[in-house]
Amino acid sequence: MSDEMTLYLQVWRQKDSKSKGGFQNYKVENVSGDMSFLEMLDMLNENLAREGKDPIQYDHDCREGICGACSCMINGEAHGPGKKTTTCEMHMRHFNDGDAIIIEPWRAKAFPVLKDLAVDRSAYDKIIMAGGFIEVKYGNAPEANSMMVGKEVADFAMDNAACIGCGACAAACPNASAMLFTAAKTTQLSLLPQGKVESKKRVQSMIKKMDELGFGNCTNERLCEAACPKGISIISIARMNREYMGTLLKSDY
C-alpha cells in the first residue's frame, strides 16, 4: 500500500496587508506521510510556480521547531493537530487521504496579515523591547555555586525560556491575548538572580506594552497552553499575575 495522499486545501490568500483576501482551493497529490506540513506547502508552491501562479507566502526558517517563524492555523488548530509541535515539525501522517484542510494565518488585531499566511509578529518584539531583557552587566558566567538557585526554580525558568515567540498563544486564545507569551518572557528572567533586580519595572512595562498593542484580556480559557508548541503552562500566567499584584503593593525601597 502506498502512503501517498491526495489532499484538498483551502488556503487564505491575501495580496498584501491592505487587500481583502479570501480562500482559494487547491488539490495536492502524492503527499507522503513523512513530509512535514511545510514540505507539503513547498510542493504545492512548486506546482503553482510551474503554472505561473503566485506561490503561497508563509513564514519559516529553522524547520526544526526552535525559531518560531512558522505559524498557520491548520483546521482550526494553531500549528495543526500535533501536541507540542510547530507547523514545521508536524508530519503529514496526521492526515488521511482525501482530507480537506483549512489553512489560515494567525488572526489577531496585533498581528496584521502581510501576505497570505504570513503575519507581522513584531508586536511580540515590542513587548520584549519594553523590558524583556537585563540591563545590568553581569560579566561572565559566575563561579559555580557562588549564586545559589533552587533546582525547581531553575527548571521552571528554563521551561519558560523555551518560548520561541511563535504567536500560537495569542492566535489560539479566543481573546487574542498575549498573556502566555508575556508571562513566559517575564518569568524566565524574574525567577533568576540576574533578572530579579529589574523585575518590578519589567513586569509593569511589559504588561503595559502588551495592552497598548491591542491584544485582548486574558480570561483564563487555557487554550494558549493547549496550543503552545513548547508546552508552557498557564501557571506562568498565574505567577505573573501574582508578581504584578506584588509590584502594585510594594515600594521600591
Binding site: 481573546n175 504588561i207 495592552d211 485582548g216 480570561t219 483564563n220 501557571i235
Partner: protein
C-alpha cells in the same frame, strides 16, 4: 488600567458575589424547614437599619462586576481583528473550558434572571402574617404560589444550571487571576471549583423542586 488589573476587579467582585450566592442559599434553606423561620429571617433582614447600606454595597459590587466583565468582553471581541477564523477548535475541551468560553452568555442570562427574580420576589405580591403580635411579610406564601407553576420552576432551574457554569469557571479562574494557582494545586483547585459548583446546583435546584412538590400535594 491594565488588563491584569481589570482581571483583579472582575475576580474580586466575583469572589464576593460567590459568597453572596452561598449566604443566600443558607437563608433560602430555611424555607424547607418552616414558614415561620423563613419569614422571621426575612423580617429580621429587612428591618435591620443597616440593610440599605448592605444593599447598596451588594448592588455596587454587582454592577462593578458587570461593568468590567462587559468592558473586557468587548475589548476581547475586537482584539481578534476584522477577520475572524473560518474554523477554530478547542484543543483542550472539557466542562471547565466550556464554562470559560460561555462566561459572557451565562453572565447575561444570570443578569436577566436576577432582574426578574427581584421584581417577582422583593417587589412581588405582598402578603402579611402575624407571629407573636408582630406583623411581617409572608414571603413564604408567595413562594408556594410561585413555584407550583411549572414554567416558573423550570425557568428557575435553568437559571441555576447557568449559574453553576458561571461559578464553575469563575471560582477556578480566581485562583489563576490572584496567582494562587501552582502546578501542584491546579487539579485540586479545579476539583474544588467543580465541587462548589455542584453544591450550588444541588442546593438551588432543591428550592424550586421542593416548592413545586408543595403545590402538587
Amino acid at each position: 488600567m491594565s488588563s491584569v488589573f481589570k482581571k483583579y476587579i472582575v475576580a474580586a467582585s466575583g469572589l464576593f458575589l460567590t459568597l453572596f450566592v452561598l449566604g443566600h442559599s443558607a437563608g433560602n434553606s430555611l424555607m424547607l424547614f418552616s414558614s415561620e423561620m423563613f419569614n422571621r429571617y426575612g423580617h429580621a433582614l429587612i428591618t435591620n437599619p443597616l440593610i440599605y447600606l448592605i444593599e447598596f454595597v451588594v448592588v455596587a459590587i454587582f454592577l462593578t462586576h458587570v461593568f468590567f466583565a462587559l468592558k473586557v468582553t468587548f475589548e476581547n471581541w475586537s482584539a481578534r481583528g476584522d477577520v475572524g477564523y473560518k474554523k477554530r477548535v478547542n484543543k483542550d475541551s472539557n466542562l471547565i473550558s466550556f464554562a470559560a468560553s460561555t462566561m459572557p452568555y451565562t453572565g447575561a442570562v444570570i443578569f436577566i434572571f436576577l432582574v426578574l427574580h427581584i421584581v417577582q420576589f422583593k417587589y412581588g405580591a405582598y402578603y402579611e402574617i402575624t407571629y407573636a403580635g408582630t406583623i411581617m411579610r409572608d414571603l413564604h406564601r408567595l413562594l408556594l404560589e410561585y413555584f407550583p407553576a411549572p414554567l416558573n420552576a423550570i425557568g428557575y432551574i435553568i437559571a441555576m444550571v447557568v449559574l453553576t457554569f458561571h461559578v464553575l469557571h469563575g471560582l477556578w479562574s480566581i485562583t489563576q487571576t490572584f496567582g494562587v494557582n501552582r502546578s501542584m494545586y491546579n487539579k485540586l483547585f479545579r476539583n474544588i471549583a467543580l465541587g462548589f459548583a455542584l453544591f450550588v446546583l444541588v442546593i438551588y435546584v432543591t428550592f424550586p423542586v421542593w416548592g413545586y412538590l408543595q403545590g402538587v400535594k
